[in-house]
């Protein structure tokens, strides 16, 4: 028992040391990730959002901002108001929050892009020397500046692919609308089901979608696919719908048709029928035998 415990302690100490060696190093962020900036300018609204998100998701480890009271972990989470955070560019913070490392969880799947930017927007309010990255680097947000976007969709039924073509009016002339996010959805009973992540149009205003081959269609395999601009607040509602016929045919099986416990009286499972009549017949056979014996009693001399 004792020896076992000692061994356990050694093992634990080793693991901790190794992990310390591993992670006390610099947390390097790829260069291209560093250059990413928020597409939405930081505002009072994003800051407020970020504050709520911080209190709900981060405070447990990083402590109240400015209090310099992070959890005593190794490596330390650090106080987001500190110089350690202030010295990093937005893209670096975004990368770290998105991917995490060791004790820092990845928020890629739990928080949306916008939420993570909102968090940074909030953290930045504690960095007095910080200058807004959106304003400083406008070329980074080279989304389509014009309006009146028109959407054209063409389908390749063989390959289950669709090409979305966007054009819009900018400075009085019709040009391809590039860097605009398009989302694909399929119509379902109670709403629209998202098909993968939105895709940005390229320089010629084209976004290509590839669909899974096993999408459930209606009884004749028809599906209604919908394309929509994600940034509706910026470009207004731009939608294109198309019905395709390469969905999987839906074959409705009425559960009441099978012989099952939930079936009606004509759909009794065989095993139940056999057990019921088996039991009832044997019980009444014995009863019948007794009655017969009773009637024969007077002849027994």
């Amino acid at each position: 028992m004792n020896r076992y415990n000692t061994l356990k302690h050694i093992a634990l100490a080793l693991t901790l040391t190794i992990s310390n060696i591993g992670f006390s190093q610099e947390w390097t962020v790829p260069e291209d990730a560093k250059s990413v900036v928020s597409s939405v300018p930081f505002s009072e609204m994003t800051q407020q959002q970020g504050k709520d998100l911080f209190n709900a998701n981060c405070k447990s480890c990083h402590g109240a901002i400015g209090a310099n009271a992070p959890l005593p972990l190794n490596p330390s989470p650090g106080d987001p108001a500190s110089e350690r955070f202030a010295a990093q560019v937005d893209g670096a913070l975004f990368f770290k929050i998105t991917n995490g490392r060791a004790g820092m969880p990845s928020f890629k799947n739990t928080l949306s892009d916008a939420d993570r930017w909102a968090l940074i927007s909030y953290i930045r309010t504690f960095h007095p020397n910080y200058k807004g990255a959106v304003a400083e680097n406008p070329s980074a947000v080279n989304t389509f500046k014009g309006g009146n976007i028109q959407m054209k969709v063409s389908f390749d039924d063989e390959k289950h692919m669709a090409t979305v073509n966007l054009s819009g009016t900018e400075n009085g002339s019709v040009v391809p609308a590039s860097s605009v996010r398009v989302g694909a959805f399929v119509q379902r009973y109670f709403g629209q089901m998202k098909l993968g992540e939105p895709i940005k149009t390229n320089a010629s205003g084209v976004a290509t979608f590839e669909f899974p081959t096993d999408l459930q269609g209606d009884s004749i395999g028809q599906l209604k696919i919908i394309f929509k601009l994600i940034d509706e607040d910026k470009y207004g509602l731009v939608v294109a719908e198309q019905t395709v016929n390469w969905g999987e045919k839906f074959v409705y099986q009425n559960p009441l048709d099978q012989n099952a416990l939930w079936g009606d009286r004509t759909a009794v499972p065989t095993w139940l029928l056999l057990s019921y009549f088996g039991v009832v017949l044997s019980v009444f056979a014995v009863i019948g035998w007794v009655v017969l014996q009773l009637l024969k009693l007077k002849n027994l001399k």
Partner: protein
């Protein structure tokens, strides 16, 4: 033992036993019986009026509604089925393993069983409102439904219990026929038919023993089935308080408690009214008292499982149900049934001094009250805690309050069960004459002279 008795002794012993046991059938009970019958008739006429109202105006005269569609009637049904199970416990289980002290109470247990099994079926018909609706079970019933199984087992159990009552009666009726040649015509005819030509040949004895044995074995699974299926009426749903895997054994164990208590009441009654102190003596009471402790302990064990485990987990929905039972609006009834219907009887009956007829009568009465209430709080509260909130319905649908007619009909069914027992105990000897004589060492020849 029988070898040691000479003819003379054998004869006088048998005469004494036969006289003692037959006397209650011929004796004019006078005032006490008249009062008893008057009481029962009063209850039954109240029942008659209430049932007339229910037939005329429909189930609206009861407190049942969309949410609590099972109320007092179904609680009472479960209670009756439970009470009838004692026949199987005593004749079959104890009889098959050769326990001797059950001889004086076996027939009493069988009478209790027959009376309650018959009434259980009838209660269902009252609960249906219109009696012709019973036909729907046959026209539309699904084999998949526990209700169809329930009807099947209740019928089978009633038939087998009746046979187990009649078979050991055959030699007795042959005796009575000979000893009371001046009885009324109809009685002689009844005895004649029901003694099936028995004259006491060894082959006839053998045949009766064999039939009783076969039926005693058969009744064990049938009795387990009747109450297990009754429990499945509840347990095969997902509702709070019913969604339980141990409802079958929980019901069966509870049934034995109620049944033994009924047997004690009947024993006490016959002991005094029929002057059978020498047969239903203190020692039998002592033994039955111990039996009640045993079955109550098993029941207590199931209760602990049934309530403690969900109460520990407090699953959403169950929590509300359990709290209303433990500390809420149902707490009074719940704790009454647990304490007076189960825990206290166990503790009291552990003392030999308490296993005396008088005390046991009181204890049995408490147990029966507890047992009835227990069925009520199994059936009703669950329905008032549905998965979806009770809303947009009349205020009265939030609770269930039995009405006068409903109570009268329920009391009437209990009265009918007791009436059946009274009649059976009047036209048949409540203790088996030939088996008592056999145990006293009297030979078959003397018995069948």
């Amino acid at each position: 033992m029988s070898g040691m008795l000479n003819k003379e002794e054998s004869k006088s012993r048998f005469d004494k036993i036969a006289d003692d046991l037959i006397r209650p059938m011929t004796k004019n009970d006078g005032l006490s019986l008249q009062i008893w019958i008057f009481l029962l008739v009063t209850v039954l006429s109240l029942f008659g009026y209430a049932y007339f109202l229910q037939l005329r105006d429909g189930l609206g005269v009861t407190g049942l509604h969309d949410y609590a569609s099972w109320g007092m009637y179904i609680s009472n049904f479960v209670f009756f089925v439970a009470s009838s199970l004692v026949g199987m416990l005593i004749t079959a289980v104890l009889g098959l393993i050769g326990i001797k002290w059950i001889t004086p109470i076996a027939r009493i247990a069988e009478i209790v069983a027959v009376a309650f099994a018959m009434m259980a079926g009838l209660v269902i018909v009252f609960d249906m409102g219109r009696p012709d609706r019973l036909l729907n079970v046959f026209i539309y019933g699904r084999l998949q439904s526990p209700i169809v199984w329930d009807l099947t087992v209740v019928t089978s159990y009633t038939i087998i219990s009746l046979l187990l009552l009649i078979l050991p009666l055959i030699p007795d009726l042959a005796i009575i026929k000979r000893r009371l040649p001046n009885a009324p015509k109809w009685q002689l005819l009844l005895w004649n038919i029901l003694s099936f030509g028995f004259v006491g040949t060894p082959a006839q004895y053998k045949s009766i023993h064999k039939m009783v044995r076969v039926l005693s074995i058969l009744i064990v699974p049938v009795a387990l089935a009747i109450h297990t299926v009754t429990s499945w009426l509840f347990a095969s749903t997902l509702r709070h308080g019913w969604d339980s895997t141990i409802f079958g054994p929980y019901f069966v164990s509870g049934a034995f408690v109620a049944g033994v208590a009924w047997v004690i009441l009947a024993m006490y009654f016959f002991r005094h009214q029929y002057n059978l102190k020498a047969y239903l003596h203190d020692e039998v009471f002592d033994k039955v008292g111990k039996l009640l402790v045993l079955v109550s302990l098993v029941y207590l064990y199931f209760n602990i499982n049934e309530f403690l485990v969900p109460a520990y987990k407090m699953k959403a929905g169950d929590d509300h149900h359990i709290l209303t039972l433990f500390t809420g609006s149902w707490a009074g009834l719940f704790w009454f049934s647990q304490i007076f219907g189960n825990i206290l009887p166990i503790i009291l009956l552990l003392f030999k001094r308490m296993r005396k007829p008088g005390y046991m009568f009181t204890i049995a009465l408490l147990v029966i009250m507890g047992a009835w209430i227990k069925r009520y709080i199994i059936v009703v509260p669950t329905q008032l805690h549905p998965h979806l909130p009770i809303q947009n319905v009349p205020e009265a649908f939030h609770v269930y309050t039995p009405t006068g007619p409903e109570i009268a009909i329920t009391l009437g069914t209990i009265g009918m069960a007791i009436l059946i027992m009274t009649i059976l105990a009047k036209i048949f000897p409540v203790i088996s004459i030939w088996e008592t004589a056999e145990e006293a060492g009297v030979d078959h020849e003397t018995i069948n002279q």
